[in-house]
Every structure is written in C-alpha cells, then in structure tokens.
C-alpha cells in the first residue's frame, strides 16, 4: 500500500543482504518514484519515462503509470534474460570484485519494488505478466511481501480489516506464497503491536472490536445481520492468519529483519512444494507432448 514503506523495506532488505554477504539484485518497478532509497540493478525509469508518457500520450498520472507498466511488461522477457544471465555467472567472475562485495555473484535474492498505487500492479494485466513470468514461466520461487503500516491499522479496526481482506485477495489472485510484513514497528508503542497481534491470534477479541463498529452503524445491514457478518469475517480472517506467515519489522531501524529472512526461506520452500508449481510443471509437460 502507498506510504507503507515499500521502498524503505527494499532498501533495508538490500542492506541486510549485503551485510550477510548474500548476493542479490534489486529492481525498481515504480515508474513514478522520484528518489529511490536503494541502488537498482534494473530500473523501469531507465526504459520508460513516466513524464514523457504523460506528455506524448496526453495521459494523467494514473494512465501514465499503467501505460509505463504495460510497456515494461511487454519487454519483460528481456528482464528475464538479464536474470538468467546473472544467475549463471560463474563464481570466478564474481571473485574478481576487488571490494569482496557479494553483489555481483549469482543472486540468492531478487527484490522488486512495486508502484505505490497498488492496484496498478495487482489489478492490471502487466502486474500479472510480471508475477506469472517469474513464478510460472521461469519457475523462480516467487513470494509476495504485503507491506502494511502498523500505525494506520492499529488506529482503526476497519482499516486493519480492509487491509487484511486485500491481502487475502492477493493470495487468491496470485496463488503464490504471501508474507504479511507489518512495518514501522519503531513508530508505535509495544502495546500497539501486541494489540494487532491479539486481533490476529484471538478472533474473539477481534470480533468484539468489530462489533463496536456495528453499533456505530458503520457496517451496512445493521442489527443482528451485521453481528453475524462480523463473526464470519473474524472467523475467515482468523483462518487466513493461521495459514499466512506474518512478521513485524521496522525498515527504519532494521528490527525484525532476521525473522523476515527466515519467513522468506520457508515461503520459498512452500513455493517449491506448492500445488501451483506442480500444476505449472504438469501443464508444461503435457503441452510439450
């Protein structure tokens, strides 16, 4: 989500990876970003200029972002070629790096920063092309990080719920592993993070919180109907938290990043053993017959 700190998270992932001497590459997919918090190996802004698209196609900011992404997605095979080339780099070539910087060795991780307007990526053909090319065509273990802003969510249970519904929608849309990354832990008192955790762990407390909103007539329907609705909603989301890993981090201070890397490892493992990749492989074998 916009303002949840995606770029700072990518920047923190990058700095932690290099500290741990894990080779990585970082890519920027946001055509409208002004200053990038990390050094990108590939940057959509080098290929397409957001402001020129606005001028040339006479588009507003939204249309320009979508068009830039579409143009980029149409060329995504070249990104894939680049990744393949990087992955097959020989160790010998990488050891030439005088500084001993692990960056140029075949990457263990590739981080993608996505546009601020989340639906430009999630509800567009181009976002689908990017994720499907990585996950299905190239079969790279691909994991979605859904970054959420703790301070905004803890203030309002409905904001929290809308975000979780959206995260859940992402899981269904992509069918690849998803990690919920609660960011900006440094900005809230410990109690607040605990409060979020209790909403996720204990559906009774979440249900009670939601019902308070029912009384304030915030949820349509009103009366008994909405009480039962908040209960089914709490139950459904509760199951979602059981199945989807979730970590609390601060991209700003670096707190919790180890647990994020651990979650990444197990999610990539889950990807390898998923029904999704099994079906992808099966489809490939049957179509090559």
């Amino acid at each position: 989500m916009a303002g949840s700190g995606k770029s700072s998270l990518v920047s923190r992932l990058v700095s932690q990876a290099s500290e741990k001497r894990w080779p990585y590459r970082a890519m920027n997919l946001d055509p409208a970003v002004r200053t990038l918090a990390f050094t990108a190996d590939l940057d959509i802004r080098d290929t397409v200029s957001y402001s020129r698209i606005m001028e040339e196609y006479r588009l507003g900011p939204n249309g320009a972002i979508l068009t830039a992404l579409n143009l980029f997605a149409a060329q995504f095979e070249r990104v894939l070629e680049y990744i393949e080339q990087e992955c097959t780099r020989t160790e010998a070539a990488s050891s030439e790096d005088k500084s001993g910087h692990p960056r140029r060795a075949p990457p263990r991780y590739i981080f993608f920063d996505t546009p601020g307007q989340i639906e430009a990526f999630t509800w567009s053909a181009s976002g689908m092309i990017v994720t499907e090319t990585l996950a299905a065509a190239a079969e790279y273990p691909t994991v979605l990080l859904f970054v959420v802003d703790i301070p905004r969510c803890v203030r309002n249970v409905l904001t929290f719920t809308s975000n979780m519904l959206y995260a859940c929608s992402m899981l269904y849309r992509s069918r690849i592993p998803l990690i919920i990354v609660w960011n900006k832990q440094d900005c809230v008192p410990v109690d607040d993070a605990a409060r979020l955790e209790s909403w996720m762990r204990d559906f009774e407390s979440f249900d009670a919180e939601l019902e308070q909103y029912d009384e304030a007539a915030r949820i349509p329907g009103g009366g008994d109907y909405s009480v039962s609705f908040s209960r089914s909603l709490a139950l459904a989301l509760n199951e979602f938290y059981h199945q989807v890993p979730c970590v609390f981090v601060s991209a700003h201070t670096g707190e919790g990043m180890d647990s994020l890397f651990e979650a990444l490892e197990s999610a990539s493992d889950a990807f390898e053993h998923s029904e999704y990749i099994r079906q992808v492989r099966e489809a490939k074998t049957s179509s090559s017959d």
């Binding site: 916009a2 507003g60 601020g116 975000n163 269904y172 069918r175 609705f229 179509s287």
Partner: protein, 293 residues
C-alpha cells in the same frame, strides 16, 4: 437526493459506466447528473454537472507541492473536504429527488488506508441528506477462475466494509470477453489450467465456454467454487476457502451484475438494482401520487 459512488480499479470502466447510466436515464426519463471526483481524470464522455478539476487537479498539486501522484491525490481529496463550499454549491443546485453519480478515483488505498472517502460519504449522508449506495466495478477479464473470483470479491468487500453503505458489484466489459479470440483468452488466465482443451476449441465452442464461465460467476455456487479452489491451491488453505465461501454466501456480496456499455438492457438492469438499494422509486411514487398516502 440520491447518489451512486462509482468505484473500481483504474481501467475498470467507471467513467464509461457513468456515461452509459446517464444516457440510459435520458431514455427512461430519469435525470442523472454525473460529478467527476477523480482529480487525475483524463477524459470522459459524459457531460459532468461538476468536476473536481475545477477546484483542484493532481498535476497542479504535484507541481506546486512537489508531491508524487499518490500524495497529490490524497491532498486533493482532503482539499475537497476542507473547502466544502464547492460541494455545497453542487448540492444546493440540485432538486430534492435528483440523482447523482460520483465518478470516484481508482486508487485502492483510498478505500483501505485513508479516511477521506469515508468522511466524504459521511458528510453527504448526514449533512446534505443524500441517500448513497456504492457501485463497485471489476473488469470481467480478471475473473477467469475460482481463485480470481475470490480475489475480486474480497477486494470489493474491503471497499464495502470501509464505506458502510449499501453496495452493488458490477462485472464490467463482459462484451469484451465474447470478442476475445480463443488465443487471447487462452493467455489471460487459463494458461496453466487447461491448455490443450482451449487450444483445440473452436471459436463457437469457446464462446459457449465463455457464456458458461460468466454464468458461473454471476450466479456462483459457492461449494463448487470451493471444490475448484481445492484443486488450484495447497491443501492447507482448504479451511480458508470454506470460511471465505461462507462469508461471501452469507453477506450476498457474491452477486455480481453483468454490464457492458454496448448492452442497453444491462445498463437498465443496473440502474434498477441501484434504485432498489436506494429505495428511489418508493420515495418518488409517494411524491408523484400523494393521494395514495
């Protein structure tokens, strides 16, 4: 006064929907005014009764305050709420049973993260006594299978919950589904599920398949969708499918109405459904036939 808030991701066809409803309104004698509330809108076919860009535009804000596209949008929406004069003027120019469509910005964050749209709804409901319903559009091409159907419904539900007004879900551009060739359709979502079958299908067969597909999602049978999901995803998500299925069923959000700008009947049906939500005809009948009271 009655109003539809027309929402949906960028490119889902919000502006075209507004135009189609306005045109249809003329045919059936229901005057429909459209207000553009997307400060980053590019062009639309309808004639707006008011346009937020008269007040503020994203490009001006971006330039003057040096904000990115998202920050500028939020700034514009907050500006709209602060300077209520503009809104007040529009509403005071309306008659008591006038009908408004608000063409909203597409950014999902507005419906999950930020308070401004919720405040806007609260304001027009309580201060100006406007009866409001939400219309959420989703492009039909993104609802190709059970998993994507769940994804779409959950996104719609997030918006619905956030605004707390009666809600109508619309599957837009259904005519484009029909027009797609087998090959295009093949690349849109069923790529990995049924490659050989779609490849062999003739054009007529694929059109029939599309009709069936559409029918499945317009009148969804949740247990069969859950069964399909079990085949699509890891076994550990099974309980999740069931619980979300129960949620969708219980709250009847699963109902999507088909719409295509080329099909006048579908537009008429949508207007009828929205009128039902708004209790538009009840109110009007009372006024038109006072002797029945």
């Amino acid at each position: 006064m009655f109003a539809q808030l027309v929402m949906g991701p960028a490119g889902s066809g919000k502006s075209t929907y507004c135009y189609a409803v306005q045109q249809h309104g003329q045919v059936v004698g229901q005057t429909v005014h459209v207000v553009n509330l997307d400060p980053a809108a590019e062009r639309f076919e309808y004639a707006p009764v008011a346009d937020i860009r008269e007040l503020v535009t994203v490009s001006d804000v971006a330039e003057e305050l040096n904000l990115g596209p998202n920050g500028s949008l939020i700034y514009c929406m907050e500006y709209l709420l602060e300077d209520q004069e503009w809104l007040e003027q529009i509403i005071s120019d309306m008659a008591e049973d006038d009908y408004l469509l608000f063409d909203m910005p597409g950014q999902v964050e507005l419906y999950t993260h930020f308070e401004c749209i919720r405040q806007f709804v609260y304001l027009i409901q309580h201060q100006y006594q406007v009866r409001v319903c939400g219309v959420f559009l989703l492009d039909a091409q993104f609802l190709a299978d059970a998993a994507k159907f769940f994804a779409g419904s959950l996104t719609a539900m997030a918006a619905m919950l956030h605004l707390g007004v009666p809600h109508l879900n619309v599957l837009s551009k259904v005519d484009l589904l029909h027009r797609q060739t087998t090959e295009q359709y093949h690349s849109l979502g069923t790529r990995f599920e049924t490659p050989s079958r779609t490849e062999e299908a003739t054009a007529a067969e694929s059109e029939q398949a599309l009709d069936d597909l559409l029918e499945r999602f317009l009148n969804p049978d949740i247990p069969s969708l859950v069964a399909e999901l079990e085949g699509q995803m890891d076994a550990r998500y099974r309980a999740l499918h069931e619980r979300i299925g129960a949620l969708l069923e219980e709250y009847s959000i699963v109902q999507f109405f088909p719409y295509s700008v080329a099909d006048e009947d579908s537009v008429g049906e949508l207007l009828l459904q929205a009128n039902l939500l708004l209790q538009y005809d009840d109110e009007r009948d009372v006024r038109v036939h006072p002797e029945l009271d």
